[in-house]
């Protein structure tokens, strides 16, 4: 599994065109970083910004299982509950201190709330089985879990390493971050900008962009305006219609990439009599015109799906026959299930959270009405949405778009279909058993088989109305070479101006 760092290094610098002057880059963000302490956040945008200051032990490309060594050179399980990582040496924090195993141990302890007078950090919920870290020597560290967690490395990219003893009394880490990353912190003005400069001695190679500014622009229209006027060089989360408006602009390039978020309607199969019936759930799936939504509403910037996980996740069964748009069939299924006259179904949807989420839910509701289901939507603020789903106070259904925290379908299934977990309104012992099996399977084949079986069950039992996977649309200055990443992480280390 371990890859060599030496291989990545020449690759990134070799293509650099030396005589193009490198200018600063400004990136438009929708919200401020939630915290400058990487452990105290759980937001992709914040992670994105801090990723440029801090490094994880291991990185991922966001879509495949391929992992890249960063601060760790290599890793292996020395027993099912202990992951041993060998760290790179000669790495320095931006304050000059050398990076050692103690930093990793400190980071983990801070994350888990094991430092004196500390409580678990906000990001701790990502690592439910992680219990401790132990330094073996200066370049070796053991991560210890409470139960076997073979896929622990896949979620380690989320863990950004902070320097030893950097928190606690008199800590300045939250105001002046210090990391091993490609960029050094310069200043942060809340609701305005976060400014970084290139580090001269980054251990993975030369950093080309001299200065990066993350500018906070909350309003989606203003964000587009500031991009189209050249105030910012890089923007993401453009609406499909905005892509067209940038069409005539010769200075910009628009890139649409499938994201890991899969939009679906969660159905309360536990409490709603109608939704307890498989035929009803299938009928609902046949009632949706996915093509209409992806073509009309998303202008092609989305793909219809029949699964929870993105197509590029592995392992995934790509041979499943999709639910077609067939209102007649849907009606007859409803009739067979004894709901010929339909039933009431309120769909809760959070505002201003998912791209065109409310609009899509509205479209779904009207398509369900067409087969006789009395579907209405209930818009709530995202905060309300989070609160209501947390206390499991939902109407018959809600619209959600769940992104996996790593490129592993199991992470997703564990979070949304396993009986009794936070985001699941479904109860299926067979499925749970399959997930358990995959969870502790050290053997890749067993793991794949279990997941593919699970996917089949999810598909045929339809505890969701599957909808679509929408693209994330990036806008960037044509002269900027930057490769957008499917989980929306903006790591500018390898970006450069090419003309």
């Amino acid at each position: 599994q371990a890859a060599s760092a030496a291989k990545a290094k020449p690759k990134s610098t070799a293509k650099a065109v030396p005589n193009v002057p490198q200018r600063p880059v400004t990136v438009a963000m929708a919200v401020d970083p939630v915290s400058l302490n990487p452990l105290e956040q759980r937001v992709t945008d914040t992670y994105s910004e801090l990723r440029n200051i801090y490094d994880p032990l291991i990185d991922s490309d966001g879509k495949s299982k391929k992992l890249t060594p960063i601060l760790a050179k290599s890793w292996k399980f020395i027993d099912p509950k202990t992951l041993q990582l060998t760290l790179r040496s000669g790495v320095k924090f931006s304050n000059g201190a050398a990076f050692t195993a103690d930093d990793v141990v400190y980071t983990v302890k801070a994350l888990l709330g094991k430092l004196p007078e500390s409580k678990p950090a906000l990001a701790a919920y990502l690592y439910p089985t992680l219990t401790d870290a132990v330094a073996v020597n200066a370049t070796t560290v053991n991560l210890i879990t409470s139960s076997p967690t073979p896929r622990l490395p896949i979620i380690l990219p989320q863990l950004l390493i902070i320097p030893n003893n950097s928190l606690g009394a008199g800590s300045t880490l939250t105001t002046t971050p210090v990391g091993t990353g490609a960029y050094k912190f310069v200043s942060y003005t809340p609701q305005k900008e976060l400014v970084l400069t290139a580090k001269s001695d980054y251990f993975l190679g030369k950093v080309l962009i001299p200065k990066v500014t993350f500018k906070t622009i909350p309003d989606v229209t203003s964000r587009l305006f500031s991009f189209s006027t050249g105030e910012v060089d890089l923007i993401y989360g453009l609406l499909p219609s905005q892509i067209r408006s940038l069409g005539g602009n010769p200075f910009v390039k628009v890139v649409s990439k499938p994201s890991t978020r899969m939009a679906a309607i969660w159905l309360d199969t536990l409490n709603v009599p109608a939704l307890k019936k498989l035929k009803v759930r299938q009928a609902l799936n046949y009632a949706i015109d996915r093509q209409g939504i992806t073509k009309g509403l998303f202008q092609g910037q989305a793909t219809p799906t029949n699964a929870l996980a993105p197509t590029f996740f592995d392992p995934l069964d790509n041979k499943l026959k999709p639910y077609t748009y067939d209102p007649a069939k849907a009606k007859s299924l409803l009739k067979k299930a004894g709901f010929a006259d339909g039933f009431d179904m309120t769909i809760m949807v959070p505002q201003a959270r998912y791209i065109l989420g409310v609009e899509a839910a509205t479209a779904v509701a009207s398509q369900l009405q067409a087969i006789g289901v009395n579907a209405t939507i209930q818009e709530v603020s995202f905060a309300d949405f989070a609160a209501k789903t947390a206390v499991r106070d939902i109407p018959e259904a809600f619209f959600g778009s769940y992104g996996s925290s790593g490129p592993d379908p199991l992470l997703l299934y564990n979070a949304v279909v396993r009986t009794g977990v936070g985001f699941s309104w479904y109860n299926n012992p067979t499925l749970d058993a399959l997930l358990d099996k995959a969870q502790s399977a050290a053997d890749e084949a067993v793991y794949s088989k279990a997941l593919i079986d699970a996917e089949g069950i999810i598909y045929s039992q339809a505890p969701f109305i599957f909808l679509y996977a929408n693209n994330i649309t990036w806008g960037l200055d044509k002269r900027l070479a930057f490769k957008p990443n499917p989980i929306q992480v903006i790591n500018l280390f390898k970006a450069k101006w090419i003309s």
């Binding site: 919920y125 809340p190 909350p218 309003d219 203003s222 305006f225 006027t229 905060a383 609160a387």
Partner: protein, 339 residues
């Protein structure tokens, strides 16, 4: 016709000598009274906000991340004192406020008070800009219109003002942005880093509502003032219109306009929430919008409290300024310690 000189003079002396019992400390008494009053008003605000915050079905749910367990919830419930009686909660809440503890921002995970205070300056700068142009222009135009109510100028202005009132500021903001920043590239789209240029568009959108309000107020109070006996009498002395307006009438419309300052500021604070979000202005308006959409209620409550505290203080200051401007009221205060 035999007049007693004594009687006549005694009348004169009486009115002069009728000195007030409180003259020396009436003003101090009044200020103390108003201060206490303001404090009480703020206490009411604080109470209202407390009541609102406890109206939630489950205040805890909004304060925790989605992955939170029931145990987390119970812990938070206890740490907030939500397991105690409402009265106890209220006492705890007041006690915290007195110690400057406005709660923890769930979004930023830091105490809200310093967070909010740190971001006041840009908001105040923008508000000041907005109120300056709005009031100067509005008072000027309002006075002009009031001199000849019903004239063509007055009617055209009335029409413009009516349309301006009907123009939703959020709508105007984006349309202005599109025209002046995107099409003509005169002003920056966002932020406050380009000096005065940055202030123009957000300033216009934020100042529109106060402009309409002040203009209407100026016009109507000026028309009223111009009807009073002393203005007509000033005319009977053959004074120039400009002199009558500036020396006599302006002074008298200062009071209603100033008294409106508190309400205006409240309006600006409301407007800032929308304007700052659209123009990415780094102030408390945008902060509270963020708090709203991400469910950071402690943050929103702190902003609300600070904004209303400002309004209350503003009202206090305005009352004192009005005392300075209005000798009748001043005399009354000096005598009785109240109005």
């Amino acid at each position: 016709m035999d007049f007693k000189k004594r009687g006549e003079m005694s009348d004169l002396i009486k009115t002069q000598a009728e000195s007030s019992p409180l003259k020396s400390h009436g003003l101090r008494l009044y200020i103390a009274r108003r201060l206490l009053q303001s404090l009480f008003v703020f206490f009411i605000v604080v109470t209202v906000i407390f009541v609102i915050s406890r109206m939630a079905a489950d205040p805890v749910a909004t304060l925790l991340p989605p992955g939170a367990t029931p145990i987390d919830r119970e812990n938070l419930r206890q740490s907030l004192g939500l397991d105690k009686s409402l009265i106890d909660q209220y006492v705890i809440y007041l006690n915290n406020l007195i110690h400057g503890d406005f709660g923890i921002s769930t979004l930023y995970n830091v105490p809200v008070l310093p967070l909010v205070l740190n971001r006041c300056v840009p908001t105040f700068a923008l508000a000041l800009f907005a109120i300056l142009w709005a009031s100067v222009l509005a008072i000027f135009l309002g006075v002009l219109a009031s001199l000849r109510p019903g004239s063509i100028f007055d009617r055209i202005l009335g029409g413009i003002v009516s349309i301006a009132q009907g123009t939703a500021s959020f709508w105007l903001a984006v349309v202005l942005l599109y025209i002046f920043s995107v099409k003509f590239r005169i002003f920056p789209v966002t932020g406050n880093s380009e000096g005065l240029k940055s202030f123009v568009l957000p300033g216009i959108s934020l100042g529109l509502a106060p402009f309409v309000a002040i203009l209407r107020l100026t016009r109507s109070s000026m028309i009223e003032t111009l009807k009073t006996g002393y203005i007509r009498n000033a005319n009977s002395r053959g004074l120039k219109t400009t002199r009558v307006v500036i020396n006599h009438a302006m002074r008298n419309i200062a009071e209603p306009i100033l008294s409106y300052a508190g309400i205006l500021f409240g309006g600006l604070a409301s407007g800032a929430v929308i304007t700052e979000t659209i123009f990415a202005w780094p102030g408390i308006g945008q902060l509270s919008m963020q708090g709203i959409s991400l469910g950071d209620y402690a943050l929103v409550q702190a902003v609300t409290m600070l904004a209303s505290l400002t309004v209350i203080l503003l009202n206090l200051i305005v009352d004192l300024i009005n005392l300075k401007l209005n000798p009748v009221a001043r005399e009354k205060v000096k005598q009785y310690g109240k109005l």
